[in-house]
C-alpha cells in the first residue's frame, strides 16, 4: 500500500515539474543579437525624468524579418544604428521592451504616461546631451507599416521611441499594438 502511495507521489511530482518547465518556456522571449556598436558619437544612454527612465542604450540593426532588433536586456533600450543618431537630421529611433520578466519591469513600461511637451535626453559617447520634446504619442497596430517612424522625415532632427502595448497574443507571442512617442529636438 505504502509502495503504491510512493509511486503515486513520484508520478505526481514528475507531472508537476513538467508543467512548471512548460509554463516557463512560454515565458522566455527570444532576444536577437544586437549589432556591433557603431562608430563615434553613438548614443549611449537615454533619460526620461517623467517616467524615471535612466537606461543604457544598446546599438542594434535589423533582424532577419526586416524589423528593428530589440535590446537584449529588458532594462536597457536600443538605438537603431542603421538610421540617424539622435540629434542628426531625420528620425532617430530607440526602442525598449514592455512587460515584466522575473519580477523586473522593462525599460519602457511607463512610456504611455508621456504626453506632449515632456522632455527626453540622450547622451552620446562624447558626453554630448541632446534634448527632445514629445510632439505626439500614438498607438499603431502591430501589423501597420512602420516606415513613417523610421523615414527620413522633414529634414529636422527627431527621436522616436517604440515599445509594445495592447493585448498579449499567446499564439504569436506578441502584443497587438505598438506605442510610438514622436519627439522634436530642442535647439540648444
Amino acid at each position: 500500500m505504502k509502495f503504491t502511495i510512493g509511486i503515486a507521489g513520484i508520478f505526481v511530482s514528475i507531472i508537476a515539474v513538467l508543467f512548471l518547465v512548460g509554463s516557463q518556456s512560454v515565458q522566455s522571449v527570444e532576444m536577437p543579437d544586437s549589432v556591433k556598436p557603431a562608430n563615434t558619437n553613438s548614443p549611449i544612454s537615454i533619460r526620461i525624468p517623467k517616467i524615471n527612465v535612466n537606461a543604457n542604450l544598446e546599438s542594434v540593426g535589423l533582424k532577419s524579418d526586416g524589423s528593428m532588433a530589440e535590446p537584449k536586456d529588458p532594462t536597457q533600450a536600443a538605438w537603431f544604428n542603421l538610421g540617424p543618431r539622435p540629434g542628426e537630421s531625420g528620425n532617430a529611433v530607440i526602442n525598449g521592451h514592455f512587460g515584466w520578466k522575473n519580477n523586473i519591469s522593462a525599460v519602457f513600461d511607463d512610456l504611455s504616461a508621456l504626453s506632449v511637451g515632456d522632455t527626453i535626453y540622450t547622451e552620446d559617447d562624447k558626453g554630448i546631451i541632446t534634448t527632445f520634446e514629445v510632439r505626439e504619442v500614438r498607438m499603431f497596430k502591430e501589423t501597420e507599416d512602420s516606415s513613417s517612424v523610421f523615414g527620413i522625415g522633414d529634414g529636422n532632427a527627431h527621436l522616436n521611441l517604440i515599445t509594445c502595448g495592447g493585448v498579449w497574443n499567446k499564439t504569436s507571442k506578441s502584443y497587438s499594438n505598438r506605442l510610438v512617442v514622436f519627439t522634436n529636438k530642442i535647439k540648444n
Partner: protein, 322 residues
C-alpha cells in the same frame, strides 16, 4: 690617455644620440600647394573623354587641348574651363605642384605593392619606380588631421579592380598626393583617395571612384562611369563668434548687397534603413500559475520524501517486532 679615452667615449655617445634623434625626427611631408589647379576636380592636357554615367562634382579644365567628349551622358556639377585663361594658369600651377611633390622628402622607399599595408604620414617611393594597390591601402594619420601623404612614382600607378584606400585616424583625402611619372590607371570599381598629379595621363576604368582630384599635365583623362568628388579639407570647428546685436535703425538709403554666386556643393544623402515592420518589444505577461507551480512542486517533493520515509521505516519496525 685615460682622459682621452673618456673623451672619445663621450663623443661617441653624443654623436650616437644626435644620430638617433636625426632618425626619429624625420621631417614630415608638407601639403602640396595646387594654387589655381585646386579648384579643378579633373584637369587634362590633351583630351577629356568620358563613357557612361560619370558624375564629376567640381570643375573640369583642359589646356592646351580642346576636346571634351562624353558629357552627356556624363555630368559635370561645376564649370568647364576649356583652353581658357584659367585652364592655362591651372596647368602652369599643376606643373609647379608636380615638381613640389616630386621634390619632397625625406623619402621612405617601400615595396611597389601598397595593398594590404598601412602607411603613416610621409613621402614614399618604390625601388621599381611604380606603385600598385591590390586590396586595401590604409593611410593612418595617427590623429593628426593635417598629416600629409605623398606617393611618388617615376613611371606608373596602377590599382587593381575593387581595390580601395581607407583613411584612418583623421586622415583626409585632401592631404594625399600621388605624383605619377607617367600614367595612372585605376581599376574597375576601385575606390581611390587623393590628388593624382600625372605627368602624362590618367585612366579611370569602369566604376572607379575618386575622392580627390584627377590632374594630368600633358595627356588625357579618360573616364568610364565614375564618380569623382573633389576633396576639401575640413578644419577644426572654430569657436562661434557671438552674433553682434542687430541694429534697429533702418538705413535711409538701401545699399546694394552683392549677391554671392551660389557654389554647387553636393550634399551626400545618407542612406538609412527604413524597416516597415514594427519591432517585437513585448515580454509575455507573468502568469499566476508560476507561483501555483512552485507550491505544487514543493508539496509533491515533501509528499515523496514523507512517503519514502514512511515506506522504509515501517517494514523495519515490523521485522524488529516480529
Amino acid at each position: 690617455m685615460k682622459n682621452f679615452k673618456k673623451g672619445a667615449l663621450a663623443l661617441v655617445a653624443i654623436v650616437s644620440i644626435f644620430g638617433l634623434t636625426g632618425l626619429v625626427s624625420v621631417q614630415a611631408a608638407t601639403s602640396v600647394n595646387l594654387s589655381n589647379a585646386d579648384s579643378f576636380t579633373v584637369l587634362a592636357g590633351s583630351t577629356i573623354t568620358n563613357t557612361g554615367s560619370t558624375v564629376i562634382n567640381g570643375n573640369i579644365g583642359l589646356s592646351p587641348g580642346t576636346a571634351v567628349t562624353g558629357f552627356p551622358p556624363g555630368t559635370v556639377n561645376g564649370v568647364q574651363n576649356v583652353a581658357n585663361a584659367l585652364a592655362i594658369q591651372a596647368q602652369t600651377d599643376l606643373t609647379n605642384a608636380y615638381t613640389n611633390a616630386a621634390g619632397q622628402g625625406p623619402v621612405v622607399t617601400v615595396p611597389t605593392e601598397l595593398g594590404g599595408t598601412t602607411k603613416v604620414a610621409g613621402a614614399y617611393d618604390s625601388a621599381t619606380g611604380t606603385f600598385g594597390i591590390t586590396g586595401t591601402l590604409t593611410l593612418d594619420a595617427q590623429g593628426n588631421p593635417n598629416a600629409v601623404f605623398i606617393f611618388k612614382t617615376s613611371s606608373t600607378l596602377i590599382t587593381a579592380g575593387a581595390s580601395n584606400i581607407v583613411l584612418a585616424n583623421g586622415a583626409q583625402a585632401c592631404n594625399v598626393f600621388w605624383q605619377v611619372g607617367s600614367s595612372a590607371t585605376l581599376g574597375a570599381n576601385s575606390s581611390f583617395k587623393g590628388t593624382i598629379l600625372a605627368l602624362t595621363s590618367a585612366t579611370l576604368t569602369t566604376g572607379a571612384n575618386v575622392e580627390g582630384r584627377v590632374l594630368a599635365r600633358n595627356g588625357a583623362v579618360t573616364l568610364d562611369s565614375n564618380t569623382i568628388n573633389k576633396s576639401t579639407c575640413t578644419v577644426a570647428a572654430a569657436t562661434p563668434t557671438p552674433t553682434p546685436a542687430v541694429p534697429t535703425l533702418t538705413p535711409v538709403v538701401a545699399q546694394a548687397t552683392p549677391t554671392p554666386t551660389p557654389v554647387f556643393v553636393p550634399t551626400p544623402t545618407p542612406t538609412y534603413a527604413t524597416p516597415s515592420v514594427f519591432p517585437s518589444t513585448g515580454i509575455a505577461p507573468q502568469e499566476v500559475n508560476v507561483i501555483l507551480d512552485s507550491v505544487i512542486v514543493t508539496a509533491a517533493f515533501l509528499f515523496v520524501v514523507a512517503t519514502i520515509f514512511v515506506g522504509f521505516r515501517k517494514p523495519r519496525y515490523l521485522v524488529k517486532n516480529a
